[in-house]
């Protein structure tokens, strides 16, 4: 062969290799959630900000396996068909190595068979529906992980409080008619049974209702003194406003959605401190959390959505750790590494010591949650004798 043709071929090959290397340089992380279409969009938006901050930090330190991260987002506008399409887009088209999200628990249920089939790990950092991290069938390989609130764990804690409270003699449940409410109601009923709590009345309302006095009057007629509510922020606000209308204030425990600023604004200062609920973090921040807040706080659509930025940050850190341990970008290898993280991972919420296992895919459980009440516009940690008296054995799931 002539020298010039060999040279041409070599240059060509080198060029191809180089091009391959350059594009293979970036590790793509996908985000599939609601970024614009509903009030939960602010949570998704915050999560992405947190993820981006973690990506910036990791890339500044040289990336992982010599490569840098980039985030590819897809907005599913809370619609399942769109969410499914986005999943396929991210996995098949963009070839991401992992997906984060969703904001909407129902959407995860719709597409969770896809990452399980294609063997791509998913780390949720917003949606809290219990069933999201369940395997497709008992014992099967499970690619769904989560760093966020978990409905079942929250409810477990709330029910433990109810059981332990001597003043809680007649208990009622309320839930909104969406998937979120329905899922929560199911968990509430199951855990109440485990705890031996008798539920005297169950009422429902729609997410756009402005008046729940009929339902509350039914509870009042049954002498309910404690009610556990599973709904989003705005309807919880309308609920406490309706309570004010008929002057009926049972002890009210709610879902974490009460941390949304829409709840506070709608309920008003006086009524906002009625519900007791849980979050992963209060507004009393650690120095590390404060530093992150100083970085991205101004970009948040609502200050109270900062907790999702923390989830976002930590979820990326956990992925990076698994990636390093697996020493490969293969989905199955990452999943196995996640289930068996050998060294602790320092996150902004906490330091994670072997957070996942084959059967445990939740990084945050009841023990990590904080009891919260609104106080003068701030989400403050809440404590009372009942909470102080709760021990591990009181929680039943």
């Amino acid at each position: 062969m002539k020298f010039s043709s060999i040279l041409k071929r070599t240059v060509l090959m080198a060029g191809v290799l180089a091009a391959g290397l350059v594009s293979a340089q970036d590790l793509k992380l996908g985000y599939n959630g609601d970024l614009s279409a509903s009030p939960s969009a602010q949570s998704g938006h915050a999560a992405v900000l947190g993820m981006q901050a973690a990506v910036d930090d990791i890339n500044a330190a040289g990336g992982v396996l010599g490569r840098k991260f980039t985030i590819v987002t897809r907005d599913d506008q809370s619609q399942p068909p769109k969410s499914i399409q986005n999943m396929s887009d991210l996995i098949d088209n963009e070839k991401v190595i992992a997906v984060f999200g969703p904001t909407n628990s129902g959407n995860a249920m719709a597409w969770k068979h896809i990452p399980n089939q294609k063997k791509i790990p998913v780390i949720g950092n917003v949606g809290s529906g219990t069933a999201i991290t369940h395997p497709m069938s008992p014992g099967a390989d499970n690619y769904m992980f989560r760093v966020s609130m978990v409905d079942r764990d929250q409810i477990g804690a709330l029910m433990a409080y109810v059981k332990k409270n001597p003043a809680a003699k007649v208990v009622g449940l309320m839930a909104e008619t969406t998937g979120y409410g329905a899922g929560g109601l199911k968990d509430m009923q199951e855990i109440a049974e485990l705890q031996g709590i008798k539920i005297v009345a169950t009422e429902r309302f729609a997410v756009s209702d402005t008046d729940m006095t009929s339902q509350l009057n039914k509870l009042k007629a049954a002498n309910v003194d404690t009610v556990v509510v599973w709904a989003q922020g705005t309807p919880i606000a309308q609920l406490v406003r309706s309570m004010e209308k008929i002057n009926y204030f049972p002890v009210t425990l709610t879902s974490w959605a009460a941390d949304n600023i829409t709840f506070y604004d709608a309920a008003g200062k006086a009524l906002a401190n009625k519900p007791i609920f849980m979050r992963t973090v209060s507004e009393t921040r650690t120095p590390v959390q404060q530093k992150l807040y100083d970085r991205i706080g101004s970009k948040l659509k609502a200050p109270s959505s900062f907790s999702f930025a923390l989830h976002g940050y930590d979820s990326v850190q956990l992925l990076a750790a698994a990636l390093k341990q697996a020493n490969s970008a293969d989905g199955t290898a990452i999943k196995n590494a996640l289930e068996d993280l050998r060294s602790p991972v320092a996150g902004v919420l906490k330091t994670y010591n072997k957070p996942f296992s084959k059967t445990q895919h939740e990084a945050l459980t009841a023990g990590d949650f904080v009891w919260i009440k609104w106080n003068d516009g701030k989400l403050e940690p809440y404590s009372d004798p009942i909470i102080k008296g709760l021990v591990a054995g009181d929680y039943k799931y």
Partner: protein, 595 residues
Amino acid sequence: MSGLRHLGASVAFTVAAGAGAAALSNDYYLRIAFMMCIYYLCGAGMNVLVGYAGQKSLGQAGLFAAGAYGVALLTIRTSMDPWLALVLAAVISGACGVVIALPSLRVKGPYLAMVTLAFGIVVEKVVSEWTDVFGGASGLFGIRSMTWGGVPLTMLQWVWLALAISLLTHLLIRNLVSGRIGRALLSLQADEIASASVGVRVYRAKVMAFVVAAVTCGIAGALVAQQNQYINSDFITFHLSIFILLMVLFGGVGNIYGPIVGAVLLTVIDSALSSWPAVQHFAYGALLLFALFVMPGGVMGVITPWLARRTKRIAEPAPCSDIALRFSDDSTGELLSVQGISKSYGGVKPAQDVSFRLQRGQVYALIGPNGAGKTTMINMLTGLVRPDSGQITFAGRDAVGMPPHTICSLGMGRTFQNLRLFGELSVLDNVMLGRHSRMRGGFLSSLLALPLARREEALARSRSMDLLGLVDLAHLAHAPAGSLSYGLQRRVELARALATDPQLLLLDEPAAGLNPQETSELGDLLLRISRMGLTILMVEHHMDLVMRISDRVMVLDYGVKIAEGSPAQVQANPRVIEAYLGSDAALPSVETIAA
């Protein structure tokens, strides 16, 4: 395009699409191709319902749900074969289509839109609330999908399956709408009353359209459920109903290729913009508003005229002489007997105990001052209005209470005082609609384009051309009926009524708006028709025509029959003169008018 050519082209297109799909590099694109077929299926059926039958329906999501949940429950609760479950799901959706069509019997327009919308919402709520059966927002898992060689279908195989079903749907629907049924549906959209009067079973046709839309949407829903192996109530939204409608309108409503174009374009636009949802949301609204503005006929509405200029018009068979036209061989005997018919609308009584008999082969005229009740009488005879009391016996049958299409089948044809043509359809199509009740072969033979249906169509075509020849309009067979002058439109309506093979022809002011020359020609034509064995009853104000061609004349005044007899007798009757002129003045004679 001729039938065979169209079949060949469609199959070739589908095979090419299948090959193209095989060349796609990843599952994401395959998924988009799959969704294109799904949306096409929804749109094809909707096109028949909205574009052909003109029924405003906003509840497609409910029909999609019927198919999806049908197949889900069948494959989860039973061990039925998934292919069979798909077929059964289509049947279930069809049944729902019948249910959703029920209100269309009584309500129209925005009210129908509302009822169908309410149906869609009720279904949406039921599947999300009745969680024991439908799983609510958590949904139903483990829907079994079809398998090939023991393995569930791959994405590529799903695309091929969807393509095959789409091809089949396209061919079947094309058969349906290019023949008798399609014409009947279009006539529904144009004028329901005229449609019933030429023998179309209006309600049944509407149900047919709803069922077609339901079956295609149901199949689409079932395919989505089986492909995802999961369905939940979030899939069933008003948004879906609107998207399907948008696709049909954007592609070109009432055009057989519209849904294909709409499905492909909208799915592509949707995926292309998926990275920028804000733009996508806006584009969606813009499409709804401005595309309609700029392209009211949709994309096909822009392409079709351009194509039409380049295709040759098929020649119609030449009309034959009228020796071949014969309406009846019975030339004697009683045809219609009306006894004691009464009708009142509050204080107005268009009919007070009216009785008369019509003998075969004669020409009758019904005259009287305005408001005498003449048109009401015709409406009662043809079944559009129900008399309060009395009897009508037509061809030996009791006709009171019969629906208009049955009376038409018995042999009564009519024209309308205020012209009720199907304006957007061609002259030939209008007349062929008259043949609707005389053509054999129903829904299935139309759908499958069986030889019977094709033969009947050819026969109807030639008969209609003969009739157009009779009224001297054969050269305008393909012009839109609404584009003709008033006098010519009247002739089209006459041809249409003749096409129903009537024994008795009821004409409501056939000479209205005609000049003396045209009136005279009409008289000649009516005499000719009468000699072909047809009995004629005409309501008329043109006394010259009445006196010249009628054998017997009846006079109504404020709902009371005040005279009956030969034209000369009635002309001289003092009560008649008083009713018309209110004084002793004599009725002008024929000679005076002709001068």
